[in-house]
């Protein structure tokens, strides 16, 4: 299949962030105190288990960030050398992997693992006349002749197959880690395996492998069942809810990371400058963040988002595709959330810099005639970076939760963009239905809960390792 790669703005920034993370890893490897702090994170089982979950989500997010526009089939009778025409629909690598989930849409709601639609429809009976029945689904359980009798056995068989595969796949990392542990300690493989099982390793590998096993099991069972059933049901327009939940991961990750990323330059520069330079610079910067702080966050966000909507709606010519428009809105939302949230970090950095300014090594540097920018870069900035890192990981979970709330209020992401917030918002309208349509809500809440819980636990591990007061 021919395609034209598309680099959305958030993709670009997201990949830039990954590069920065990679550069940080390289930097940490060469720096002993930083390595010691990260080793502290590595020793903590909950932190490492959370990191494993986060990395899995990150993998989904990265695959979902490789966007492209597929080439449309050539028009009948077009000249052979005509320029290729690309679809206006922007797809991602994840869409290709989940092609079966994306394209096999039903008419409307269906429950998880259902073989029939959730609503009654009037159908013409073959022997004449009409009846109100729940019609069979087009794709869900369509391979079964008599779902009522065969379905349970079929699900069990497919799930068992998936679980077997997961166990086999899981043995590979277990063997690799055990071999690594054995080599490090200079003992045999069996001894390494024993140490791993008892949790006697320097890094909490046991927690990592157990979490990985659980993830593999869930993913593999889901992969075995998803092509045949709608494992989380379908939504109002018949889309597979499992697909929607996976697509929401990228939106949540982008909001959680890019927001902090875009506000970091402001917060760090202004905070350090206010703390170090003092005088009128300090006054101006303090005035700035007091003003921004004085406006309740939601209201400032609401006002800014309303204005952004006006801009986007009055300039349709800026965006080639709907995906680009939704993406611009996502980025703008990140910017707005960043503008409203940098004040806290800025104030922390100002306070820390005020303290650092009076320390001997900074005084000595000043006495030697080192110029202010150099002092800030060499002596102050590296010593406030732990605050930045802690803020980065602590803010993440709050931002993911905020996205859902903002999308519910109507000032979040573009309604066409798949996110936890839009999923909840669409499902909310159906709560009054009897019996209730619960699966979209439960799927969105479960995914969000796992993501946010992992982020919270990881943030705690990072904070405990890097905060010198602890």
């Amino acid at each position: 299949m021919n395609f034209q790669p598309v680099l959305l703005w958030t993709d670009l920034l997201f990949f830039a962030l990954l590069l920065v993370a990679l550069a940080t890893v390289l930097h940490v490897r060469r720096n002993e105190p930083l390595r010691a702090a990260w080793r502290k994170v590595g020793r903590r089982p909950t932190g490492m288990a959370a990191a494993t979950v986060l990395l899995t989500f990150l993998l989904v997010g990265v695959v979902d960030s490789l966007h492209f526009r597929p080439q449309l089939p050539a028009v009948e009778g077009a000249p052979a050398d005509a320029a290729p025409v690309y679809s206006s629909e922007v797809l991602s690598a994840l869409d290709v992997l989940l092609a079966k989930l994306r394209t096999r849409n039903e008419k409307t709601y269906s429950a998880p693992f259902a073989d029939r639609l959730y609503v009654r429809e009037t159908v013409e009976l073959p022997e004449g006349g009409q009846a109100r029945i729940h019609p069979r689904l087009l794709h869900g359980a369509a391979h079964l002749a008599d779902p009522a009798a065969e379905r349970a056995a079929d699900i069990a068989r497919k799930a068992a197959g998936g679980a077997m595969l997961a166990v086999l796949l899981w043995l590979l990392p277990v063997a690799l880690v055990a071999a690594g542990v054995a080599r490090r300690a200079g003992v045999g493989f069996a001894q390494g395996l024993r140490r791993l099982a008892r949790g006697e390793t320097a890094i909490a590998w046991r927690a990592v492998l157990l979490t990985l096993g659980a993830i593999l099991l869930l993913a593999s069972v889901a992969a075995a069942l998803a092509p045949w059933y709608h494992i989380f049901g379908t939504d109002k327009v018949g889309q597979d809810v499992f697909y929607l939940a996976l697509k929401s991961v990228r939106t949540a990750l982008v909001i959680g990371t890019l927001t902090t990323l875009v506000m970091l330059p402001f917060a760090v520069t202004l905070g350090v400058m206010a703390g170090y330079l003092g005088g009128w610079v300090d006054d101006v910067i303090q005035y700035l963040y007091t003003v921004l702080n004085a406006i309740p966050g939601v209201l400032l966000i609401a006002a800014a988002v309303l204005m952004m909507q006006v801009i986007i709606d009055t300039h349709p010519q800026w965006f080639a595709t709907a995906a680009e428009r939704a993406d611009a809105r996502l980025l703008a939302l990140c910017l707005i959330l960043g503008i409203t949230s940098w004040t806290g970090l800025c104030r922390l950095l100002r306070g820390e810099t005020l303290k650092l300014r009076e320390l001997e090594y900074v005084q000595a540097a000043r006495a030697f005639g080192v110029r202010t920018p150099a002092i800030l870069r060499r002596h102050v900035l590296p010593n406030v970076m732990h605050i930045v890192l802690i803020a980065l990981v602590m803010d993440f979970s709050g931002l993911v939760l905020a996205e859902a709330v903002l999308s519910y209020i109507g000032i979040g992401v573009d309604p066409t963009m798949i996110s936890f917030g839009t999923m909840i918002n669409m499902a909310r309208a159906e709560l009054a239905r009897e019996p209730m349509v619960w699966w979209s809500l439960v799927a969105a809440f479960c995914f969000m809960f796992v993501l946010v819980l992992a982020a919270n636990l990881f943030a705690d591990a990072v904070r405990d390792a890097f905060d010198p007061r602890r």
Binding site: I295, P296, A404
Partner: protein, 325 residues
Amino acid sequence: MFAYVLRRLIYAVPILIGVNLLTFVLFFVVNSPDDMARMHLGARHASAEGIERWKAERGYDKPTFWNAQADGAGRLTETVFFDKSLRMFAFDFGRADDGRDIGREIRDRMGPSLAIALPTFLLGLLVSVSFALLLVFFRATYLDFWGVVICVAMMSISSLFYIIGGQWLVSKVWALVPISGYAPGLDAARFLVLPVLISVLAGVGSSVRWYRTIFLEEISRDYVRTARAKGLSELAVLFRHVLKNAMIPILTGVVVVIPLLFMGSLLVESFFGIPGLGSYTIDAINAQDFAVVRAMVFIGSVLYIVGLILTDISYTLVDPRVRLE
């Protein structure tokens, strides 16, 4: 004290001017009123006369800063900036899109908002502080460990889940209270129980953890060891010494939100159909009623500044060492 408060109030003026300028830039300079009219009317109805009429109805048809056509002081007062921005300092917010007076609407809706926010605040504070003290009392035991685990799990759940789940369970399955609505007077209690409980539950995870950290920090101080050495019971140490000394960090976070209670809660009010300021704001956002959003931004920042001043005053009440000069 009086002089101090007065000085703080004077300091608040430049901040309010900043807020005012910021909102003005956001609402009138980033987008021209023409853009807003086009957006509001939709592409189909956006004829030139339609836009002019829309602007005239809302008073956006005047010049932005300087009216050359008017005489005398009118050059400054007959402008959008004076009408929409400066008048806010006199708490004159003009009219909403549906023609009602915003100031009057705000006064009417403050009551229901407070009726839900005040009990939530007090109950939440009581529950959080007592649970945090309990965890600190049993510190370094399994109770403490699992208490913190539950707190982390509870703060990882979206507040939307608490609201939707609570409404479904209590109102629909158990049918104990009405799903949503509001009645004035004592009848309101029936409608308020569930939203208050849900808001407390939604906030308790993070605040228990926060208070626990504060108390743990205090408990490692010297005066606590002295108190124990005197032979005081652990309960007496916690309540008479630790709680008292932890008041400063607690007040820093708590007092500042008291005035903001008037604003109500956006989510809870809109889910439970309570006619307070929170649902007013949400309705305005959904209807893109810019005048109301502007008014709420201004009121919110005034209340925040009042909260900051109250925080400083409250320090003198709990800590005799603090003097406001």
